[in-house]
C-alpha cells in the first residue's frame, strides 16, 4: 500500500471532450475512506474518475491523487489507482484466471513464479483457490467482476475507483461484493446508480453539468437526489405529451 496520505485534491479543474465542457472549475478535497459519486447520465462522473487515473488529461487546474500527478498517464498511475470498469468483459483479457491475475504484477517487474504465488495466495485468502486454472469466460458476471477486483488488489493501490460495478449483477452477488469492498483497507471512490449500495458510505458527491450540486452525508444527499430525479421524470413525461396534444 502506498505510504502517501490518502487524499485526492482537485483545484479549479476544467475538462472538455469533443468540444463539450464536461467539468467546470471543479475544486474538491477527498480524504474520507468511502466516497460515492452520483449524478444523472452526462453529468461528468465518468470523466471525473478517468481524470484521476490519467485516462483523460485535464485542460486546466491541478489534480493530485495520493501525492501523484495523473498527468503522467494511466500506465504510470496503475500502482496508485485501481480502476474497475462497468463491464468485466472489457477488462478481462486472458483466457484463464491465473494469467489475468498475474498480468499486472508482471508489468511491475515481478517474476512469473513470484506473481503466481501472490495471485494464488489472494485467491486462497478469499476461498477461491479452485478458480486459478478456470477459463475466464466460464465464470458468472459476478465472479468475473470479482476477478477484476482481485487483479487490481494484487497491485496494492491506495485508491480503488469503481465505475458502476454492480449494473450487471443480481442482488445477492451485489451484497457479497459490497461486503468485500467495505472490508478493504483502500480508499474507495465509487460511481453507482444503485443508490442503496451507497447508504453506508462516508460522503456522497452529486455532480450535475460538471459541477458539484450537493456534497455531504448519504442521508442528506440521497433524499435530495431522489426528489430531483422524480421532478425530472415528471417534466420528461410532460415534454413527450405536449406534441401529441398539439396534434390532437
Amino acid at each position: 500500500m502506498s505510504t502517501a496520505s490518502p487524499v485526492i485534491e482537485l483545484d479549479q479543474v476544467s475538462l472538455s471532450r469533443d468540444g463539450v465542457q464536461v467539468l467546470t472549475e471543479l475544486s474538491l478535497r477527498l480524504d474520507q475512506s468511502r466516497i460515492g459519486l452520483i449524478g444523472h447520465n452526462g453529468s461528468g462522473k465518468s470523466s471525473l474518475v478517468r481524470l484521476l487515473n490519467g485516462l483523460l488529461p485535464s485542460d486546466t487546474g491541478r489534480v493530485s491523487v495520493h501525492g501523484q500527478d495523473p498527468g503522467r498517464g494511466p500506465e504510470a498511475m496503475a500502482a496508485t489507482v485501481g480502476f474497475i470498469f462497468q463491464n468485466p468483459d472489457h477488462q478481462l483479457i486472458f483466457p484463464t484466471v491465473i494469467e489475468e491475475l498475474t498480468f499486472g504484477l508482471r508489468n511491475q517487474g515481478c517474476s512469473v513464479s513470484g506473481a503466481t504465488e501472490q495471485a494464488l495466495a489472494l485467491l486462497r485468502a478469499h476461498g477461491h483457490e479452485d478458480w486459478a486454472e478456470r477459463p475466464v469466460h466460464s465464470l458468472s458476471e459476478g465472479q468475473k467482476q470479482l476477478v477484476c477486483i482481485f487483479a487490481v488488489l494484487l497491485l496494492e493501490p491506495g485508491l480503488l475507483i469503481l465505475d458502476e460495478p454492480f449494473s450487471a449483477l443480481d442482488l445477492p452477488t451485489r451484497f457479497r461484493l459490497l461486503e468485500l469492498l467495505h472490508g478493504l483497507p483502500q480508499q474507495i471512490l465509487m460511481i453507482s446508480h444503485e443508490l442503496d449500495t451507497l447508504a453506508d458510505f462516508d460522503r456522497l458527491i452529486w455532480l450535475e453539468d460538471g459541477r458539484v450540486r450537493a456534497d455531504g452525508t448519504p442521508d442528506t444527499v440521497l433524499s435530495a437526489y431522489q426528489a430531483d430525479a422524480r421532478e425530472r421524470a415528471r417534466s420528461l413525461r410532460l415534454g413527450r405529451m405536449q406534441p401529441q396534444a398539439s396534434e390532437a
Binding site: 471532450r17 469533443d18 463539450v20 478517468r50 487515473n53 490519467g54 485516462l55 498517464g73 494511466p74 500506465e75 498511475m77 496503475a78 500502482a79 489507482v81 480502476f83 470498469f85 463491464n87 468483459d89 472489457h90 477488462q91 478481462l92 483479457i93 486472458f94 483466457p95 498480468f103 499486472g104 508482471r106 508489468n107 511491475q108 477459463p135 469466460h137 487483479a151 487490481v152 497491485l155
Partner: protein, 221 residues
Amino acid sequence: MISLYLGQQSWLHRRPAGLKLLSLAAISIGLYFVSHPFWMLAALLAVLALYASVGRQALRQLRLLRPLLFLFAIMFLVQWWSVGLAAGLTLVLRMSTLVLLANLITLTTRMDAMMSAITPLLLPLRLVGTDPARIAFAVALVIRFIPVLLAQLHGLKEAWTVRGGGRQVWRLAIPMTIQAIRMSDHVAEALAARGGIQTSPGHATHSSRSHSSAKESHSEG
C-alpha cells in the same frame, strides 16, 4: 482456447514440433513429383492410415476437407476439360493429400509448441522495433475477442429475428462493427489503467514509440 489441437496423446503428439514441420515441408515438395493418379491415390491412402494410427478423434477431423469440396469439384472439371481425366484426378488427389497431411500436424501439435517452433522466424521483427512479447499479447487478444464478438453477433441476430428480420441480414454488419469498435476502445482504456503491456527491458521506449506514432484515433464519450 480455440484450437484444432486434439487433447489426447498419440505417437505423433510426442514428436517435436520442429521435426514435424520439416517432414511436412519435405513430403509436400516430394508430392509435386508424383504425376500418376494411381501413385497419388496411394499417397492419399497412406495419409489416411496415419490418421487411423492417431485415433478415432483424428479420423473425425477428416471433415475439415468438406469446405474445400466445392472448389475441388471446379478444379477437377476445369483440369479434365483442358488437360485430361488423369490430370484432373491427380490434381484433386494431391490437394486432398497435402491439406490432410498439414492438418494432421496441426491436430497433433499444441499451439504454444508451434509458436516456440516458429519464434526464431519472428526474431527479425526485433530489428524493426517490435517486441515478440507484444506479438504474443496480440495473439491472446485475438483469441479473447472472438467469443465476445460472436456473442454480440448472436445477440444482434436474435434481436433482428424477433423484430421480423428478413433476408438482408448483411445490415447487421453495421451495428456489429460499431459495437466492436466501442469494445476495443473500452479494452484499450482498461489495459492502460492496468499498467499497459509489459515490454522486455531495453525495448520499452522503442516499441511504445513505434506504436504511438501510428495515428491515435478517436476518443468516445
